[in-house]
C-alpha cells in the first residue's frame, strides 16, 4: 500500500516561519484531515506536497523513496494531485474534453471523438460516476460539485495515488457535499491516500480516519478520529477552550436606524424590515436566496427598482456605493479578496481607504494621524501583522477579514452589513469576530449579518430574517429560533403544504 511521508519539512517566507519541522504520514486507504487556524501552515504544507513550494529543509518520501518535487508537474508525475477550491474548467467544451485536457486522443492533428467518447464512458463506468455526470455537458453548465468531480476525474485518469482536497466544500450545497463524501470514501476504499483540509469540524468527523492538527507552522499532534472529539481538536488548534464563543448580551434599543421598505431589485422583491441601534439581525436562507443581492442593493452596488431605504429616518438615494457610505452604511462583502481588499497595498492603505476624507487637510492626507488610527484599529481588532506597512496579501484569511472590518470601524458607521463575515476563517478568529460584532452592537451600531452557518446565526442574532427566492419568508425572534425553524422558512416555498398544515 502506498504511503506519502513528509519528514522534517520547514519553510520560511521572508523570515516568517510558515512550517517548522513537520513530520507527517499520509497512509494509503485512509483519509487524513489537516486542521489548524488560518496561518497555521495547512496550505503551505499542501503546496510543498504539490511541488508549488520547495521546502527549505526536510524531504518528501513516497513509499520510503525520497521525491524531488521542483514543479507541480513533478508532483503530478509522482501521482500526487491537489484538488483546488475552484478547479480550472474550460467553459465551452464538454466534460470529456475537460477531463483529458492536455492529452486528448487524436488522429493526426484531428480530435478523435470516437475514442474520446469510448474512453470517457469506460472511465466513468470504471469509477462509478456514469450517473453523476454526463460526458457531454459543457464546462460552463457544471455545478461547483461537478467541477470538482471533473478535477477528480482528471486525477484518477492519470493514476493518482495521493489526492489532497483544499477546503472542497466551501462552495458546495449540502446535497453536493454528501455526494463528494461518498466519492472520497470510495477513493479511500480503492487504497488512495486522501488528504483533506477543512475548517468544518463536523465534516472532519464524518469523513476522516486520522486528524492532524497544525498550529503556528508546527504539528501539534495526530489523533485517530475514533478516539477524539470536537472539543479536543478545537483545543489543539487554538490552545484554549471556546465554549464562550457566542457570549452575547441583548443590547438592542428602540431607535430604528436602518429601515427598508418594499425594496425591489432585479433579484429581490418587496423586502421590508428594519434594524434598530444595538441590534444584530441575521439574514438567513439557502445559497441563492438573494441575501447577498439584497445587501448589494442596500449599499448601492445593485440598482433598486422601487422601494425606499432610510438611515436614521432620512431617505437615502442609492445610485452608487458612495451614497451608502455617505449615509453611514458600511459593507464587508462576501468575497473579501475580490471585492474588498487592495491585496498589494499595506494594512495602513487598506484600513484608511474609507476615512481618507476625514484624514485630509486641503486634500493632503495627514499621515501621522493615519498611522495612529490604523494602529488603534489593528490593536483593537487584534490583527496579527508584523507592522502596519505589511502587504495585506501576505496575511492569513482571518486577519484579512479583520482588516476589512477595521476599515469600516474606523469610519464609525451607523449600519454595518457583513456578508458571510467568518467564511473560510478558523475558529479562533471567528470567536474574535463574534466578540467584535457584540462590541459593535453594544456601542449602538445596527448590524445586519448574512450567514449560511446556522449555529452562527443562532448564536449571534437578536432577530433572524429568513429569505427564499428573493423575498422574505419569515422572521424569528431569538427566543423562538431553532435550526429546524430557520430551515423550514428557508425552504418554505418548497414545503408550503406541510407548513400550512403545521400552522
Amino acid at each position: 500500500m502506498t504511503e506519502l511521508t513528509v519528514a522534517g519539512i520547514s519553510k520560511r517566507f521572508a523570515g516568517v516561519r510558515a512550517l517548522n519541522d513537520v513530520t507527517l504520514e499520509f497512509p494509503g486507504g485512509a483519509v487524513t484531515a489537516l486542521m489548524g487556524e488560518n496561518g497555521a501552515g495547512k496550505s503551505t504544507l499542501i503546496k510543498v506536497m504539490s511541488g508549488d513550494y520547495l521546502p527549505d529543509e526536510g524531504e518528501i518520501l513516497f513509499d520510503g523513496e525520497p521525491l524531488r518535487l521542483h514543479t507541480p508537474a513533478d508532483a503530478r508525475q509522482a501521482g500526487i494531485r491537489v484538488i483546488p477550491q475552484e478547479p480550472e474548467i474550460v467553459p465551452h467544451v464538454s466534460v470529456a474534453e475537460n477531463v483529458y485536457i492536455g492529452a486528448l486522443p487524436r488522429k493526426g492533428r484531428a480530435l478523435d471523438r470516437a475514442t474520446l467518447n469510448k474512453r470517457i464512458r469506460a472511465d466513468l463506468e470504471r469509477l462509478g460516476f456514469e450517473r453523476v455526470i454526463s460526458p457531454d455537458t459543457l464546462g460552463s453548465h457544471l455545478t461547483p460539485a461537478q467541477r470538482q468531480l471533473v478535477e477528480i476525474l482528471r486525477a484518477l485518469t492519470t493514476d493518482a495515488k495521493v489526492i489532497a482536497f483544499d477546503e472542497p466544500t466551501s462552495s458546495l450545497s449540502e446535497h453536493e457535499v454528501e455526494a463528494l463524501f461518498t466519492l472520497i470514501r470510495r477513493l479511500r476504499e480503492d487504497g488512495l491516500a486522501v488528504v483533506y483540509v477543512s475548517h468544518r469540524l463536523q465534516e472532519i468527523f464524518q469523513l476522516a480516519d486520522r486528524i492532524a492538527v497544525l498550529r503556528d507552522g508546527g504539528l501539534v499532534g495526530v489523533r485517530d478520529a475514533a478516539d477524539t472529539d470536537e472539543n479536543e481538536i478545537v483545543r489543539m488548534m487554538v490552545g484554549r477552550d471556546l465554549s464562550a464563543m457566542f457570549a452575547r448580551d441583548h443590547a438592542a434599543t428602540d431607535k430604528v436606524v436602518l429601515q427598508v421598505e418594499g425594496v425591489t431589485s432585479d433579484d429581490v422583491r418587496d423586502i421590508t424590515f428594519d434594524v434598530r441601534a444595538g441590534e444584530v439581525v441575521a439574514l438567513a436562507g439557502l445559497v441563492g436566496a438573494g441575501r447577498s443581492e439584497l445587501a448589494g442593493a442596500l449599499v448601492g452596488d445593485l440598482p433598486i427598482r422601487s422601494g425606499e431605504v432610510r438611515v436614521d429616518g432620512r431617505r437615502v438615494r442609492l445610485r452608487q456605493p458612495s451614497d451608502a457610505v455617505r449615509a453611514g452604511m458600511g459593507y464587508a462583502p462576501e468575497e473579501r479578496k475580490a471585492q474588498a481588499l487592495l491585496l498589494e497595498r499595506s494594512v495602513r492603505d487598506n484600513t484608511s481607504l474609507v476615512v481618507l476624507d476625514r484624514l485630509r487637510r486641503l486634500r493632503f492626507v495627514k499621515r501621522a494621524e493615519e498611522r495612529r488610527l490604523t494602529r488603534e484599529y489593528v490593536d483593537r481588532l487584534n490583527v496579527r501583522t508584523p507592522n502596519i506597512e505589511h502587504e495585506v496579501r501576505k496575511l492569513s484569511g482571518g486577519n484579512q477579514q479583520k482588516v476589512v472590518l477595521a476599515r469600516w470601524l474606523a469610519r464609525k458607521p451607523k449600519v454595518l452589513i457583513l456578508d458571510e463575515p467568518t467564511r473560510g476563517i478558523d475558529v479562533g478568529a471567528k470567536a474574535e469576530i463574534y466578540h467584535l460584532i457584540d462590541d459593535l452592537a453594544r456601542t449602538g451600531v445596527a448590524v445586519l449579518v448574512i450567514s449560511s452557518e446556522l449555529p452562527e446565526v443562532l448564536g449571534l442574532a437578536d432577530r433572524i430574517i429568513v429569505m427564499q427566492n428573493g423575498h422574505i419568508t419569515g422572521e424569528l425572534d431569538r427566543a423562538d429560533a431553532s435550526e429546524e425553524a430557520i430551515l423550514g422558512l428557508a425552504m418554505a416555498e418548497d414545503l408550503t403544504t406541510s407548513l400550512s398544515e403545521g400552522k
Binding site: 456605493p321 497595498r345 492603505d349 481607504l353
Partner: protein
C-alpha cells in the same frame, strides 16, 4: 573586547549607508540607475563629447516632451488604464496653440489656454467613451490616436502652422534658463513634482492607487471611480497640451504630426521601465523619470555615435518588451494562459 559600541536601546539601529541610499532610490529603481550608469559609461567611452554639460542639456531638452507624457501616462497606468492617444493630443494642442496665437493677434496666453482647453476636451472625451461607452481603454485611445491625429491634420491642412518665435514667452520656453537649467526641463520637473505630490500625499492619489489595485473594492469603499477615470484622462489631456505647447516653442510653429508621432510608445515604455505594473495599482513618478532619463541618454548616445535612427526604433520596441518581461518575472504570477 571589540570595537563595536552598544547602541542605546530605544533608538533603532542605524541602517548601513548602502541600504539607506537604496531606500531613497527605491529597490525597484536600482536596476534603472545601474542601466543608466552603464549607458553613460559606454557612450562617454565611445565619444568624449557625450558627457559634457552641453550634451546633458541637449538630452534633457530632447526628453522633455516625451517625459511629460510619460509622467502623466504613469497616472493613467496606475489607474489600471492606458492612454495611447497622448501623442496625437500633443499634435492637436501644438497646432491649436500656434493657430490661436496667430489669430488672437499674437497673444501667447490665449494660444496656450486654447491648447489646454482642447487637451481637456480630448481627454474628457476619451474618459467618457471608456466609462459610459464601456470601451476597453486600449481600443478607445487607439481610436483617439487615429482620430486626434486626423483632427490635427484637418485643421492645419497637414502643414506646420504659424510662427511663434517672435513672442517673448515662447522664446523663453524654447531657449530660456532658470538658474542655468533650460526652462523646458524646469517645466518637466515642475509637472513631475506636482503629479508626484498628488499621487503620494493626497487622498486623490490614494484613491487612484486603490482604483488600479482593485476597482470593485474601490467602488464599494465609496470611491466614484467613473469620476476619477474621466478626471485622470482629462489630466492626461492637459499635460499632453503642455507638451504640445513646449513642442510649438521648440520648433517655432504648430506641428500636426512631426515631433509628436510615436510619443505614446516612448511614454508607455518609460512608465513600464519605471516600474508601473500594467495591470494597475503600482508605480510612481520617480521610476518613470529615471526611465525617461535612461531612454533620453540612450537615444542621444546612439545619435552621437552615429547609429542609424531606424535602429533607435528597434531599440525602443525591444526595451518596452524587456521592461514588461522583467516586470512579469518579478511579479511571480502563475505563468498560465494569456497574460493580463
Amino acid at each position: 573586547m571589540t570595537t563595536a559600541t552598544r547602541e542605546p536601546v530605544d533608538t533603532p539601529p542605524k541602517e548601513p549607508a548602502p541600504r539607506r541610499i537604496l531606500s531613497v532610490i527605491g529597490p525597484g529603481n536600482v536596476s534603472l540607475v545601474g542601466a543608466l550608469i552603464v549607458v553613460v559609461a559606454v557612450f562617454s567611452w565611445l565619444n568624449s563629447g557625450y558627457l559634457t554639460f552641453d550634451n546633458v542639456q541637449v538630452i534633457g531638452e530632447a526628453a522633455t516632451v516625451a517625459g511629460l507624457l510619460a509622467v502623466v501616462q504613469t497616472v493613467v497606468i496606475i489607474c489600471g488604464a492606458l492612454d495611447i492617444s497622448v501623442g496625437s493630443q500633443t499634435g492637436v494642442a501644438s497646432v491649436i496653440s500656434a493657430m490661436a496665437f496667430m489669430s488672437t493677434g499674437h497673444n501667447p496666453f490665449l494660444g496656450m489656454a486654447a491648447a489646454i482647453g482642447v487637451g481637456i476636451v480630448a481627454g474628457v472625451l476619451n474618459g467618457l467613451i471608456i466609462v459610459y461607452g464601456r470601451v476597453n481603454p486600449v481600443i478607445a485611445t487607439l481610436a483617439g490616436l487615429a482620430a486626434y491625429k486626423g483632427v490635427a491634420q484637418l485643421i492645419s491642412g497637414g502643414r506646420a502652422q504659424g510662427f511663434v518665435l517672435g513672442d517673448d514667452l515662447f522664446i523663453f520656453i524654447a531657449r530660456g534658463r532658470i538658474a542655468g537649467i533650460p526652462v523646458q526641463v524646469c517645466i518637466l520637473v515642475l509637472v513631475a513634482i506636482l503629479v508626484h505630490v498628488m499621487l503620494k500625499y493626497t487622498d486623490i492619489g490614494r484613491n487612484i492607487y486603490a482604483i488600479g489595485g482593485n476597482d470593485t473594492a474601490a467602488r464599494l469603499a465609496g470611491i466614484k471611480i467613473n469620476k476619477y477615470l474621466i478626471a485622470v484622462y482629462a489630466l492626461s489631456g492637459i499635460v499632453a497640451a503642455v507638451a504640445g505647447i513646449v513642442l510649438t516653442a521648440r520648433t517655432g510653429s504648430g506641428q500636426p504630426t512631426s515631433g509628436s508621432e510615436g510619443l505614446e510608445l516612448q511614454a508607455i515604455t518609460a512608465a513600464a521601465l519605471g516600474g508601473c505594473a500594467l495591470k494597475g495599482g503600482k508605480g510612481g513618478v520617480g521610476g518613470t523619470l529615471l526611465a525617461v532619463l535612461l531612454l533620453g541618454a540612450l537615444n542621444n548616445g546612439l545619435n552621437v555615435v552615429g547609429v542609424n535612427t531606424f535602429w533607435q526604433n528597434v531599440a525602443q520596441g525591444a526595451l518596452l518588451v524587456v521592461a514588461v518581461i522583467i516586470q512579469q518575472r518579478r511579479s511571480g504570477e502563475r505563468a498560465v494562459g494569456l497574460p493580463t
